[in-house]
């Protein structure tokens, strides 16, 4: 009886608002204009934090998009990001070579993802628990191995590379004064979008995630495709993790990702499993994440700290509602292990 009452009141109103995205966008634009008038440099600041926090999110989200498109849900992003972050930090400290650091973080992220791939693809174990375990394991391992690095400053980090001409454009100029990983992540997003939607490989990946039995019948190697996609997810999460100590914080601390890996999982849904929409989704989250700290003088800091978590829930709900509305939900075989059966 009381359960039925959930069906009525607030949800009807919400459902009616579903289609009115235009209204929402107009409201956001008006709000942005007012905010820009109130605080000068706000647009620059917003863009700066969009890139700063959006880049690690974009890398991790693209990886998760590929894993999920192939039908594997990987909740271990947080753990793989932590692994990549620690590997990147340690390698920079020891070798002083940032390229080595980024490559190493990619390898560590990739190797960690293989644990999940083995359990969920080969063993057909529970994917949700396996991903969760990867996150817990990553937090524990980096907590122990990274203890010696707490409080050690990084002598050098990723330095911005200016692109002449373009960096002089007003407002969006700062976009062209960033480190190599920012450009790399944007180029990758376009490349991964192209591969996923415009090539034969992309069709295979999507087929494996939607209808593995049919893809198998057509000669696609399900296991190989899934392993590669999960591995790519790990590589990108590792690089995304490395961006935190190398591009933003220039130091190591326990649990350096602070939940960003979980944000990436919500963003994957919000981006509707598309790498190009992931750019928009990640940068939007990054901008709001950064702007929230502008409210510091007015709101208690603990309340402000809740904001990213609320935002993640809201993004998840909006993303899920939108995918349901467009009837293009998650890949049909997401989370379902493939069993080829006895021959």
């Amino acid at each position: 009886m009381f359960i039925d009452s959930f069906k009525s009141f607030p949800f009807k109103a919400l459902q009616r608002l579903r289609g009115k995205w235009v209204l929402g966008i107009i409201l956001i634009v008006v709000a942005v204009v007012i905010l820009c008038a109130m605080w000068p440099n706000l647009a620059t600041y917003a863009l700066d934090s969009a890139i700063r926090w959006g880049t690690p999110l974009l890398l991790a989200t693209m990886g998760e998009i590929y894993a999920e498109r192939s039908g594997v849900l990987n909740l271990g992003i947080e753990g793989m990001m932590l692994g990549g972050a620690l590997a990147g930090f340690a390698a920079t400290l020891w070798t002083g070579n940032l390229l080595v650091a980024v490559v190493l973080s990619a390898i560590v992220g990739g190797l960690m993802s293989l644990i999940h791939a083995f359990l969920s693809i080969s063993m057909r174990a529970n994917q949700i628990v396996s991903g969760l375990a990867l996150t817990i394991f990553g937090a524990g391992l980096t907590g122990v191995l990274g203890m010696r690095f707490v409080g050690v400053p990084l002598p050098e980090g990723l330095t911005p590379i200016s692109i002449p001409m373009l960096n002089a454009i007003p407002v969006i100029g700062p976009l062209f004064n960033n480190n190599a990983l920012v450009y790399l992540s944007l180029a990758l997003a376009l490349l991964l979008w192209f591969v996923l939607f415009k090539t034969r490989t992309g069709i295979s990946i999507r087929a494996v995630g939607e209808n593995p039995a049919a893809a198998d019948a057509l000669g696609v190697n399900i296991y190989k495709t899934r392993y590669l996609c999960v591995f790519l997810g790990g590589v990108l999460a590792g690089i995304g993790g490395a961006f935190l100590p190398l591009g933003i914080l220039f130091s190591w601390r326990e649990n350096i990702t602070a939940g960003l890996g979980w944000v990436a999982i919500a963003l994957t849904i919000f981006a509707m499993w598309s790498p190009s929409r992931a750019i928009f989704a990640s940068y939007l989250f990054g901008a709001i994440y950064g702007l929230a700290y502008r409210l510091q003088p007015y709101v208690a800091s603990n309340i402000l700290n809740m904001l990213p978590y609320f935002l993640t829930i809201i993004i998840l709900i909006l993303g899920t509602m939108e995918t349901t509305r467009k009837r293009m939900g998650a890949p049909s075989a997401l989370g379902v292990p493939y069993d080829r059966g006895e021959k």
């Binding site: 949800f11 628990v129 979980w262 993640t312 899920t320």
Partner: protein, 358 residues
């Protein structure tokens, strides 16, 4: 004549098989953890012996283990039911904290005294924890929002809310500016076994609930529905079992029990509200491991919560005497989860050598 491996699938594995899989999982986890400890210059045998003796080797250690097992049992029990339905409540930590906040509010700010206070606190804690969980169940039922993400986010929100309460509106005037509330009146404190910190009413409650949930899962229609929804959601839908309704019920049970665990921590152990990290040593997260080591069986959760309680008590030894961070326990936690879910699959298979001619 050739010899080859024959793999047979056995849909109903025996109790012995399940137990041996669990023992093997534990062994493998301890082995890999030992290797990681060795790389850190820690003698694993010394560390394991230290944990075991610290947690079970003395009356004091044993009582501390049981004290920590109480919240683990209460949270873990709810999770065994939730996980059985494949509803991934990762939010026991936040639900526990909400229970603690509600109990604190009742103890300090309601004009109730005497015998009614404790039952009222437990009820308030149950409802607060349940409500915190039900929010995510509604998100799942109404919008299909993935509950792993939402329940996890609700943990962080609860932690920040707790910090806000003890540094802001609820900071005790008698605490000289420390982030604590005032101490609860005596009638709001749970009785304890003399010389220990074991608040036994909560312990007894946990044991009773374990038996009740076991019976519910085995013997009742509701338990049957939960199992069917977990094993085959499509079949459940055809049979007319309401997913949203069941998920709401599961969240009321598991959120509520976690809330009661929070009541135990403030009314039985701390007698005031502190910042969240000091109220819960990650009990809500550790309860996930408790539920899985118990193979999602409420009765087995009694044993696994005592095991996990011992690990947490022993984990303090890591921090103090071995100089390793508390995160070390999470290496063990992650690995045991890997091996347990692998074991859950492997126990269905029988591998034997067969001779074949030709």
């Amino acid at each position: 004549m050739r010899i080859r491996l024959k793999i047979e699938r056995n849909p109903t594995p025996s109790k012995l098989m399940t137990t041996s899989v669990l023992v093997l999982s534990l062994g493998a986890t301890l082995l890999i953890t030992a290797i990681i400890l060795l790389t850190q210059g820690v003698d694993p045998l010394y560390a394991y012996a230290g944990i075991f003796i610290g947690a079970f080797g003395s009356w004091h250690g044993l009582s501390e283990t049981l004290t920590k097992a109480i919240p683990l049992l209460l949270c873990g029990l709810g999770l065994t039911v939730a996980f059985r339905a494949n509803f991934w409540n990762i939010g026991a930590e936040g639900q526990l904290l909400l229970g603690a906040f509600a109990a604190t509010g009742v103890a300090l700010f309601l004009p109730v005294q005497g015998l009614y206070l404790i039952p009222l606190m437990i009820m308030a804690g149950f409802f607060a924890g349940a409500a915190w969980g039900v929010i995510t169940a509604i998100f799942r039922g109404k919008f299909g929002a993935n509950e792993v993400v939402t329940t996890l986010m609700m943990n962080y929100i609860a932690i920040e809310l707790g910090k806000f309460l003890v540094t802001g509106p609820w900071r005790g005037p008698t605490q000289h500016g420390f982030p604590y509330t005032d101490v609860f009146p005596a009638s709001a404190q749970l009785p304890i076994i003399d010389g220990t910190r074991i608040h036994y009413p909560t312990l007894i409650l946990g044991l009773v609930v374990a038996v009740l949930l076991y019976i519910m899962m085995k013997k009742t229609r509701l338990g049957y529905e939960i199992r069917v929804i977990g094993d085959n959601p499509h079949a459940a839908k055809y049979a007319g079992m309401g997913y949203t309704r069941t998920v709401l019920f599961i969240m009321i049970i598991s959120g509520g029990l976690a809330g009661v665990a929070g009541v135990g921590e403030v009314a039985g152990v701390n007698h005031l509200l502190r910042p969240p990290v000091q109220i819960s040593q990650g009990y809500g997260f550790a309860a996930i491991i408790v539920a899985w080591i118990a193979m999602r069986n409420p009765l087995a959760a009694i044993a696994s919560s005592i095991f996990m309680g011992g690990l947490l008590v022993g984990g303090d030894i890591f921090q103090t005497s071995l100089g390793l961070p508390f995160q070390t326990v999470n290496i063990f936690n992650g690995l045991i989860l890997f091996f347990v879910i692998m074991g859950l699959v492997l126990r269905h298979y029988k591998i034997s050598l067969v001779r074949r001619s030709g």
